[in-house]
């Protein structure tokens, strides 16, 4: 048989491609449930790591991770750009936003259409917000855990699709990079970025950390992602801060004595 015939070549390649595609489609479909379960547990373990509950290795398997999450989560909601809750995430099923959900919201933020960003509040008062943006080679995402005051960062965790291992990959692999976030603050002030990652060192900056040597672009893009996403959380965070400060008596001293009496009487 003449295998160099044009018609033969075209038919042969077509058949091979269709066959290969069929095998891959079958593999993809049949392995999907397991892969999705793994991804969900991974997402939850990243949220837990950001909230300083421990590293991924603290939990033996997917179920242990999800159970731990269920025990510690107080509430999980999605909030819109106006700062109000736009919906609930089912904590019984440990429902979380996957990376592709975050990606979809990232487009919404860019387009200026209404967003629905996840907020995870744990029993110990820690609030975890999500971050998603473009890295140098592919998407970067992560979670930032804020203390009760919704200002001080208690922890952060980042992941990426294809940053350079050993350079940009350090946002995930280098615990020292993540550790820098602890006790820094997210500051919402006019004309200022809420958070900074500074090439050459952030010094004493209250809302800034050092960039990664050799990975300035990845560092810049992580900073952009952080500012982009909690930028969208701004209204929510400001509203919650006001709520959390009220009972601590910040408003009281401004009241005159009669007003105080009235409040006491009530």
């Amino acid at each position: 048989m003449n295998t160099n015939n044009n018609v033969y070549t075209v038919i042969y390649t077509t058949v091979i491609c269709v066959l290969v595609a069929a095998v891959l489609a079958f593999a993809s479909q049949s392995l999907k449930p397991r892969q999705e379960a793994n991804e969900k547990a991974e997402t939850i373990s990243q949220i837990l790591t950001a909230a300083q509950f421990g590293a991924k290795e603290s939990w033996n398997d997917n179920n242990a991770t999800i159970d731990f999450y269920k025990q510690n989560i107080a509430s999980a909601a999605v909030v819109g750009a106006n700062g109000f809750a736009a919906g609930e995430l089912n904590t019984e099923n440990a429902e979380v936003y996957s990376v592709s959900d975050l990606k979809a919201q990232n487009y919404n933020i860019k387009d200026g259409t209404d967003v629905a960003l996840p907020v995870y509040v744990f029993n110990n008062g820690v609030t975890v917000v999500a971050v998603y943006g473009a890295g140098l080679w592919g998407p970067v995402w992560g979670y930032i855990a804020l203390d009760k005051d919704l200002e001080t960062i208690v922890g952060a965790y980042f992941d990426h699709a294809s940053e350079t291992p050993g350079l940009g990959g350090k946002i995930k692999d280098d615990p020292a990079f993540r550790a820098q976030f602890v006790d820094k603050k997210v500051v919402y002030a006019e004309g200022q970025k809420p958070f900074n990652i500074v090439k050459g060192g952030a010094g004493d900056m209250v809302n800034g950390i050092d960039a990664i040597t050799g990975a300035t672009k990845t560092s810049n893009r992580v900073a952009a992602a952080i500012n982009h996403c909690p930028g969208a959380y701004k209204e929510y965070v400001l509203a919650q801060r006001a709520v959390s400060r009220e009972p601590q008596g910040e408003i009281m001293p401004l009241c005159d004595s009669t007003a105080v009496v009235e409040i006491v009487n009530e």
Binding site: T9, Y12, T13, I16
Partner: protein, 202 residues
């Protein structure tokens, strides 16, 4: 077992080792040898890909149109690589995350295409399967040796269990970095060439 079969099996392990003699596929051997566990999974993945793609290409060898030979081989290799990646994502998610892009990059590993072109297209399926597997083993062997030293000296552990770190060894950070894999690889090639004199250039 005839002589040729024996050669097919033993040659890739030492005399024609894909890494230390042919110096193919060394980029991934630098990247995934920080820990033994990752190196072992990578080795198994490469064995799977080289073995099965050699087998399939050998089965198809008489029907493949000469002009699109490389394209067809590439499709077959890509199929195997994606299958490995999908399987790891489902059954060994943590390791798949750790090996990240390098699983996908097996497709560019010169050993795979090299063995198909050089062997599978001219031989029967069974020897081709063996040739593919043994070349994968030859690759994996070096990977595991390099990873053994890097994990032992870099992290003081083996398969995550403390060995040197248990007796107060201070981890050597340099060993963790890719250049040290290159140096170790150089040492392996040095040892092999001093044993196997015919490899030495005049």
């Amino acid at each position: 077992m005839d002589k040729k079969m024996k050669e097919t099996i033993l040659n890739p392990l030492f005399k024609g080792n894909p890494i230390s003699v042919l110096v193919l596929g060394i980029c991934s051997s630098l990247a995934v040898t920080v820990e033994l566990k990752g190196a072992c999974v990578m080795a198994l993945s490469v064995i799977f890909v080289t073995g099965l793609s050699s087998l399939v290409c050998s089965l198809l060898r008489k029907t493949i149109p000469g002009r699109v030979r490389i394209v067809i081989q590439l499709v077959v290799v890509a199929l195997m690589v994606i299958l490995v990646d999908q399987l790891l994502k489902a059954f060994a998610y943590g390791i798949d995350k750790q090996l990240s892009v390098y699983i996908g990059l097996i497709i560019t590993n010169c050993i795979v295409m090299g063995r198909i072109e050089a062997f599978a297209l001219g031989n029967k399926p069974l020897p081709s399967l063996l040739d593919g597997i043994m070349n994968g083993v030859g690759y994996g062997m070096i990977l595991v040796v390099v990873a053994f030293f890097r994990e032992l000296l870099g992290s003081g552990t083996l398969f995550g269990f403390p060995v040197l770190s248990a007796i107060g060894y201070t981890n050597n950070g340099l060993v963790i970095l890719p250049p040290m894999a290159l140096i170790l690889l150089g040492c392996i090639i040095w040892v092999q060439r001093s044993i196997q004199k015919d490899l030495q250039e005049k």
